[in-house]
């Protein structure tokens, strides 16, 4: 269980994390989703007591992280940057961490086997690929057999087999009743791994809900319509209760309609006597939903029309000239 209350972190005038409040519960995989620079890593470092919050507080299993007598059995963490000295072997690295808690060598060898590092355990970490580095990070997170796992971008650099393995690992750890909190900037990964998702952008929580709810909200069914008489059709559709957006002036006669399905739109068009050149249902994906949620929250964004579209789409009655 991780509980954050008004947690904030600023560096000078920049606010990296802005009064976030959330709870990560045991028994489910909670995804922490946001674009790069949204404040995910900073939040995770504050949970681990590595960064001092500017305001607010965060506890793990009821206590501030630093108050635990046995931190590694409470929380295992994979931190974003590779937190390993390249001159040490994987096994020496794990033994040194294990030594702080009196964790025996046989547990070190066990997590080496578990993470598939047995063949490289006695090689120096400097020569490891990104994927092996991630596995070593996960091995150190598992050392203390912790009740809570915090994994920052765990699938980064992993091959497809490794990605599947992390997914399976996260799900089975949660199924054992542990708290699993993992961050990613990839919505698709979250959709497959997490039960619950907390979306963060520019340091603020944008959504905190079960993945299925986010999917639901995201699947705002839109229909793309092209017609030689857009204004007449628009008037007719709006009278019928639909929301109409003109997505792009470049596509003349195109309308994006929500609130009515394709069949109903066809009937409205028939009644209004307007010809249709295209009638295409567009099921928005999770990726779209995520982009929509975070569109305003991306710190450094190229100025592209997708942003405008997302901004318009966020209000169902959006209407652009």
């Amino acid at each position: 269980m991780i509980e954050a209350q008004g947690l904030s972190k600023s560096y000078g005038n920049t606010t990296a994390v802005d009064r976030v409040t959330f709870t990560v519960r045991p028994g489910v995989v909670t995804g922490f989703l946001g674009p790069n620079g949204a404040g995910k890593s900073t939040t995770m470092r504050m949970i681990m007591g590595l960064d001092r919050p500017s305001a607010g507080s965060v506890t793990v299993n009821g206590h501030a992280y630093a108050r635990h007598r046995s931190p590694l059995t409470e929380v295992g963490a994979l931190l974003e940057a590779r937190a390993v000295h390249p001159g040490r072997t994987a096994r020496a690295h794990l033994r040194a961490l294990a030594a702080t808690h009196g964790i025996p060598d046989r547990r070190v060898d066990e997590v080496i086997d578990l993470t598939g590092l047995a063949t490289v355990a006695r090689k120096r970490v400097g020569g490891f690929s990104l994927g092996m580095g991630q596995r070593l990070g996960i091995a150190s997170a598992l050392l203390g057999d912790p009740r809570t796992l915090i994994l920052d971008e765990p699938v980064n650099g992993l091959d497809p087999e490794g990605v599947l393995w992390v997914r399976h690992l996260a799900r089975s750890l949660a199924a054992e009743g542990r708290t699993v909190f993992l961050s990613s900037h990839l919505m698709s990964e979250m959709a497959l791994t997490a039960d619950h998702v907390i979306v963060i952008g520019r340091g603020r929580i944008l959504a905190d809900a079960p993945v299925s709810d986010v999917v639901e909200a995201a699947s705002r069914r839109a229909v793309t319509v092209r017609t030689p008489g857009p204004s007449a059709l628009r008037t007719a559709l709006e009278r019928a209760g639909a929301a109409v957006v003109i997505p792009d002036v470049a596509h003349e006669g195109a309308l994006e309609v929500t609130g009515l399905d394709a069949a109903a739109i066809g009937e409205v068009a028939l009644t209004a006597g307007v010809a249709l050149h295209e009638l295409t249902p567009v099921a928005s994906t999770l990726e779209d939903a995520y982009l929509e949620l975070t569109a305003d929250a991306v710190e450094y964004r190229t100025d592209d029309p997708a942003g405008d579209l997302a901004a318009a789409g966020s209000t169902s009655t959006g209407d652009q000239p």
Partner: protein, 285 residues
Amino acid sequence: MSAATTLVAGHAPARDTHVTFARVLRSEWLKLWSLRSTWWGVALTVLLMAGLAVVMAATLGSATTSPDMQETMSADPRLAVPSGAVAVTFGYGFAQLTVAVLAVLTITGEHSTGMIRATFAAVPRRLPVLWAKLAVVAATTTLLAVVGLAAAWLATASSLSADGLSLDFSDGEHLRALAGTVVYLVTVAALALGIGALLRSTAAGIATTLGMLMVVPLLFQGLAGSAAWAQDVYAYLPTVAGERLIATGPTPDGLLAPGAGFAVLAGYAVVVLAAAALAVRRRDA
């Protein structure tokens, strides 16, 4: 690999699994000796302490028959009274560089690689890590200095005795110089560790430490001839003051007595380590 279920079935840590200072100490010991640079540094230092002692013993030996050289040497307070102690301890000047670099690296090596986050995640109270590093660095330096001195003594014993300059274990000053070498090196290492913990960067830590050990004393030595205040500053520089504990013979004008000199060096180390402790506790990792 996919057998995540063995997590529970496996050797879950026992109930007495928790952080103690002794365990942090063991962790830091494992960390230090699992890096190749430590083995290289220690081996090189011991060899050079012996090698430099041999060179110094030969120089002192030839000086006993050369009035010219005696005159040159009497200008240097450290060599004014030639003895076995001067030859055997001579390598400290090099040894202080390697122990200082090793001490700086024990902490900056963690900051530069990100290892410090894994370390502080395991020991979130942090200060035990700093004190354990201090203890491990001090123990390693003591070991290295004792072995280095023993090697230097063995390597020079026959030539020194032939020149009538044998190390005299019944001479209090000789014993003080030997013990002083060990204590001096440990204190320099402690100071260097504190500098590393404050600066965090390997480049800045090593540059500052070596500057303090080598450059600053030369600078003030040069100025001391022309300005009295520079001589006063020179006498209180960490290494110039600390080295007095190793020096034999009468205290030269303008320098501190051995005990006072060492107290000054220890003072620097305590102040820098106290500042480092504050920084380690407060700063984001």
